[in-house]
Symmetry: C2
């Protein structure tokens, strides 16, 4: 086995070990010693393949992005792109519910996406930002149906806003901090908020007196 291949294998093993540790105990459960033991290497060898544990966490998060993307793609399978406002709103609601279910089923890995902070002075790598942006693009499609005249910049802002709003509902709900709500109630809340936003975006662009989500 060549050195490059061996390094790649060790890297994958370490990412998998970190992924399991995060899923089991959250970010706080990550220990270099335990990861090295599980990947069958010396503690120092970790730093031959990644710069630090932060890089390892970004790589775990990258897998989480990919898993979320698969869940989203599976939910949209065999469905045509939305054409009408109703269809677009329905799609947005569906995406939000997929997001809730994913967060509920993978709470620790989902939390790691938001709780992990890079040390002061480091910035998030480009590839990581690109993966996030790809997830936003699923939301931009239906939003374009609701606001066909919106500029790409405005669509990007709308998408981020909608994702943030849905995120807030999931975050506070799953934290069981501000209040404890079962998953069905979270689905109800996110449906309520996302469809209200959808209708609100339609009514914003329509002539007065045509506020309901209109066909086409």
């Amino acid at each position: 086995m060549k050195t490059a291949e061996r390094r790649q294998n060790l890297k994958e093993s370490l990412v998998s070990a970190a992924e399991r540790a995060i899923e089991a105990h959250g970010l706080g459960g990550l220990r270099a010693r335990a990861l090295a033991d599980e990947a069958g290497c010396a503690v120092g060898a970790i730093y031959n393949v990644v710069a630090d544990l932060d890089e390892l966490i970004l790589l775990v998060n990258s897998r989480t992005f990919a898993a979320l993307e698969r869940a989203i793609a599976a939910a949209g399978k065999n469905r045509e792109a939305p054409q009408t406002s109703e269809q677009a709103i329905e799609r947005l609601v569906r995406l939000s519910v997929v997001y809730i279910d994913f967060a509920a089923a993978n709470t620790h890995r989902w939390r790691a996406l938001f709780e992990h902070r890079l040390p002061a002075g480091s910035s998030v790598p480009e590839w990581y930002l690109a993966e996030q942006m790809r997830l936003f693009s699923f939301v931009e499609g239906p939003l374009r149906v609701l606001q066909p005249k919106a500029s790409p910049k405005r669509l990007a802002l709308l998408a981020r806003t909608l994702v943030s709003a849905a995120h807030g509902i999931v975050a506070l709900g799953l934290e069981e901090k501000l209040y404890t709500l079962p998953l069905t109630s979270l689905r109800e809340q996110v449906t309520l908020v996302v469809s209200a936003i959808g209708r609100g975006l339609v009514s914003e662009t329509e002539p007065p007196g045509r506020g309901r989500a209109a066909k086409g």
Copy 2:
């Protein structure tokens, strides 16, 4: 000075010390030794006035709730209760912007409201939940104007949903995690989402063809 009074004074000093420590360094910066030094007591004396550091954090959070309530009250001063849908939506947007500005100006204390988790098995005390509920009531008033026929249970759900949505925008924005946005953009986003939700709630309860926020 009586014992009860002395205990109360020490408790206040400790809460103030914890509040300063959290504001300066976040929850992770809380150390019993440093708090005792600052309050002028022995480390063991802390546990004469509070059960543990978790109780101290809840007391700091209680002050944060009160500060947020003052900011909200100041923003609503000399303003009449909203009567029309437009006024109600405007009030909700205003409340959200106050929330954003508060979070941006007191980031660490605001984060402590959400990041602090009680140890497994403990539950949040009643007085703490009551303080949270009082904050929600500021949102329920305008929502009642938008959906006059909503049951109290539905209004409470709407209020929690709206607060969570606004929270998500602030949380992701201030974390500078999913993306970096300046405060003005956060205000723009929250205005966009809260007014869209408001219009959406109005259009939900109106007969078809009257989707715009209507007078009265």
